[in-house]
């Protein structure tokens, strides 16, 4: 593989991760790296001749600037923790599945499946790309769980092990409906084939053959009755127990009646029965169910704080670091929080300077400085150096986690009921009425035709067409929305979205972007060269503000600094190529005085002469304005913000006079606000991103979590939208509203078929041929109508 390194803007990109290198000093032969971490990974791969990694994709690596501390995985030596993570263990082997969120390309796949070359103790490693998981089998004689985790970390794939893994194992994906579908398909296909002679008319001389066909049909229908139809029986039994008639109850009844009547016909030799209709309808309904219930495996809508929190943390006991699982942390323990670790419990800072990134919590990515003695809240991530905190509240009692442990969330709230069930209930009443009238009529006139007539009414008039149109439309709309990166938890969410009256936005991280900041400069004007020097200085540091500055000013083309020094939590300094001392950092660090000028500022000085400051402010996402404008026309809008009201004027311009703007909102306030709206009879859609919105997201009728990347972590919600797609939210809502119309339209169509069928049924003359024509033609036309109209609509909306 020719080692051509791409050069853009005269800047050399790292051979490993593709980020610009601050200088050319870190290299191996002709390959340049942005940091020692990337170089390290390359040398490990080189040593084990795994450099195909770099030829499969260009710069496939992940930036290694932030190094993982050495004993991070020491908790994996703990037998008790091990037991909760591994899937299988015997004297020689351990089987474990690691979640590796960094996995993104075929290079990753290649490297991870060749793990045994890096760590010979690994017997096999198999990647599941869709789930970003790797199943590893390791020999306990040659390696340990901890060593494998460290091997993975050393090549840039740090396993993500969260508190959530301590809880019960995830249930395996339920495949039973797929099996049921397979069986139904098999039986349906064969029954249809065997029914043809019946319909086409068979020679009188071949009567024996006809009997064989009928009996075969009967046997083929038994698995459909007893196995494939199970979902319908289960669901209707559940609903009847709750004294609620759902759509599955009449369907289950129809399946059983059809089978019993057909079986009687076959056994008594009077006819062929309706086995093809019965197996066919079960087959189609199962397809609909599966399409509708298709879930996004890579997403999780059920995340609570446990998926964010680490599994174990170092507790200082008599001067020693002891890895302890979070549930075992008690009030009064001293925790050692390493760089880049999450604070798991509320505590008082007792040692070190905390520089905490609360972006998980608030969506605000600029870290906050905390001094000794100050209270730090759980959920923040320490960004520079190690700190020690004294726990004042246990993990489950912390400010943030308490939101989840509220009693009202424990009991499942009243689930909204789909209108389809109500519709099917009316439908069922009507069918029963028709059946009763027919029964009375035939009882008086010709009692022999009573049972054939009544059973055919139930066969023809089951609301399966309604169920089909519902599941297929929902499934198609979920698919279209998913293609547009708007992922819904379930089909019910479509209906919930259609009903909303009020939209509540979180500001930070939702209306504004968490990754982008506006940087303004204030002070003595800087020359182009000086700006490049600032960028070069900043690019040496891994601090978020430095990274933002470096990126904003193009990583300092051609400039470099020497004698680089970083003062944790305060600032950086270095000497430029032309011998000037540059300083960037807090007011105290650069100017020597401590003052607070409001907002987030980075001061800059040249040879100890203060030049000015860079002011960081949040930037609104692109196209937020048209979105708010179009939403305003149909819905009431509120904006809740955890920040101060510095942005009030700007926001007011965006949302208009009628909307409510609330600032300094704590998580409980947001939750309470949603509750108040609901008490006033509003149906609320909440759009938020951080953990601080989690309570409100859960309380709202539709909680939408916003995510910069789909594989990022989002708090539990009903829907996940990719940040870039936010401006199209209005269109998504409109599609959800159209969903209901499409279902009703196809339902009307199915009623037409039903009336035709009932015309024959009440007379007791429903022949299997008519049933066999009506069933597939109604099903097919409903499929075409639902799929066609929803797809066409989506196309019209440019989705």
């Amino acid at each position: 593989m020719p080692a051509l390194q791409p050069v853009t803007d005269n800047k050399i990109l790292c051979y490993h991760c593709g980020e610009p290198c601050p200088n050319e000093k870190i290299n191996i032969e002709d390959k340049k790296f942005c940091c020692e971490g990337c170089k390290m990974v390359y040398s490990i791969l080189n040593e084990h001749s795994l450099c195909d990694y770099y030829s499969l994709n260009e710069n496939p690596g992940i930036n290694q600037r932030i190094t993982v501390r050495k004993d991070k995985f020491s908790f994996l030596d703990d037998e008790k923790i091990q037991a909760q993570l591994i899937s299988f263990k015997d004297d020689t082997q351990i089987h474990i599945t690691f979640y590796l969120p960094q996995m993104h390309c075929s290079s990753c796949l290649y490297l991870l499946e060749n793990l045994h070359r890096v760590n010979p103790g690994v017997v096999s490693s198999k990647v599941n790309f869709a789930r970003k998981e790797v199943d590893i089998v390791l020999l306990t004689k040659h390696t340990s769980l901890r060593k494998v985790a460290e091997t993975l970390t050393s090549i840039g794939y740090e396993p993500y092990i969260s508190l959530n893994d301590l809880k019960e194992k995830r249930p395996a994906i339920d495949k039973s409906m797929v099996y049921q579908l397979g069986v139904a398909g098999f039986c349906f296909g064969n029954v249809m084939l065997l029914s043809f002679p019946e319909y086409l008319g068979i020679d009188a001389s071949e009567v024996g053959l006809r009997a064989i066909f009928r009996w075969l049909n009967l046997f083929l229908a038994i698995p459909v009755l007893l196995y494939s139809s199970m979902p319908f029986y289960e669901s209707s039994w559940k609903s009847l127990k709750h004294k609620f008639l759902n759509i599955d109850a009449p369907i289950a009844l129809a399946i059983i009646i059809t089978f019993v009547r057909s079986a009687i016909e076959v056994i008594s030799g009077t006819g062929g029965g309706y086995f093809d209709s019965m197996t066919g309808i079960v087959f189609f309904m199962l397809i609909g169910r599966i399409i509708q219930d298709k879930t996004y495996r890579q997403l999780s809508f059920e995340r609570d704080y446990t998926s964010y929190f680490p599994i174990a943390i170092s507790v200082l006991r008599e001067g020693k670091e002891v890895p302890t699982t979070l549930p075992e942390i008690k009030t009064g323990d001293t925790l050692l929080i390493h760089n880049e670790e999450l604070i798991p419990a509320d505590g008082i800072l007792t040692k070190g300077k905390a520089f905490i990134d609360y972006s998980f919590v608030t969506g605000e990515s600029i870290p906050v400085l905390k001094e000794m003695g100050e209270l730090v809240y759980a959920g923040g991530k320490q960004t520079e150096g190690n700190i020690e905190i004294l726990v004042v509240k246990e993990v489950t009692q912390s400010y943030l986690t308490k939101l989840w442990n509220r009693d009202e969330f424990k009991e499942q709230g009243e689930k909204s009921v789909s209108f389809v069930h109500l519709l099917s209930r009316y439908f069922t009443y009507i069918v029963f009425t028709i059946a009763a009238i027919t029964a009375v009529y035939w009882q008086i006139n010709e009692p022999a035709r009573l049972w054939p007539a009544i059973t055919s009414i139930f066969i023809i008039a089951c609301p399966c067409a309604l169920l089909l149109s519902n599941t297929f439309t929902n499934g198609n709309i979920l698919r279209i929305l998913g293609k547009n990166r708007f992922y819904l938890r379930s089909a019910q969410t479509i209906e919930d979205i259609a009903k909303i009256t009020h939209v509540v936005f979180d500001k930070t991280g939702t209306l504004t972007s968490a990754s982008q900041q506006n940087i303004n400069y204030e002070g003595e004007e800087l020359t182009k060269q000086e700006l490049n020097q600032v960028a070069a200085l900043a690019s040496h540091s891994s601090h978020p503000l430095s990274r933002a500055l470096a990126k904003h000013f193009g990583y300092g083309k051609g400039e470099d600094v020497t004698q680089f020094q970083e003062n944790t939590g305060r600032g950086v300094q270095g000497m430029s190529n032309d011998g000037n001392i540059l300083k960037l950092g807090s007011a105290e660090f650069v100017t020597g005085q401590q003052f607070y000028a409001g907002g987030t500022n980075v001061y800059f000085s040249l040879n100890d002469k203060v030049k000015g400051r860079f002011i960081f402010s949040n930037q609104y996402r692109e196209n937020v304005e048209p979105l708010l404008h179009s939403l305003k026309a149909h819905y009431k809008i509120s904006v809740l913000s955890g920040d101060n009201d510095a942005e009030r004027e700007n926001l007011r311009k965006l949302v208009g006079d009628k909307s409510e703007l609330l600032f300094n909102q704590k998580p409980e306030d947001k939750l309470q606000y949603i509750k108040d709206l609901q008490l006033r009879g509003e149906t609320v859609m909440m759009i938020g991103d951080g953990l601080n919105d989690a309570g409100a997201l859960k309380q709202s009728n539709v909680g939408v979590a916003i995510s910069e990347q789909t594989n990022n972590f989002t708090p539990s919600s009903d829907a996940i939208i990719e940040a870039k797609q936010l401006p199209r939210l209005t269109r998504f809502i409109r599609l959800c509203i159209a969903n209901r119309k499409i279902i009703i339209a196809s339902f009307v169509l199915s009623i037409v078929y039903n009336i035709i069928g009932l015309y024959f049924a009440v007379q007791g003359t429903l022949s299997p041929v008519i049933a066999a024509i009506l069933m597939p033609s109604s099903s097919l036309s409903i499929l075409l109508l639902t799929f066609g109209s929803s797809s066409l609509l989506a196309k019209n909306m440019k989705m």
Binding site: L109, E113, S125, V137, V178, G182, V183, F186, L193, I212
Partner: protein, 55 residues
Amino acid sequence: MSVILILLIASISVAGIFLFAFLWGTKTGQFEDDISPASRILFDDKPAQPKPNNK
């Protein structure tokens, strides 16, 4: 008539084989990850899978 019976048995058993293949494929998770097998086949040397000594 007997020819039809033979055909009948043949057709149902062929369909049965396909049903079995489908159920087996689903059970062993062959429809779960549709990305990695496609790239895996393109790697020059397949990852060697040394068998554990005592299994």
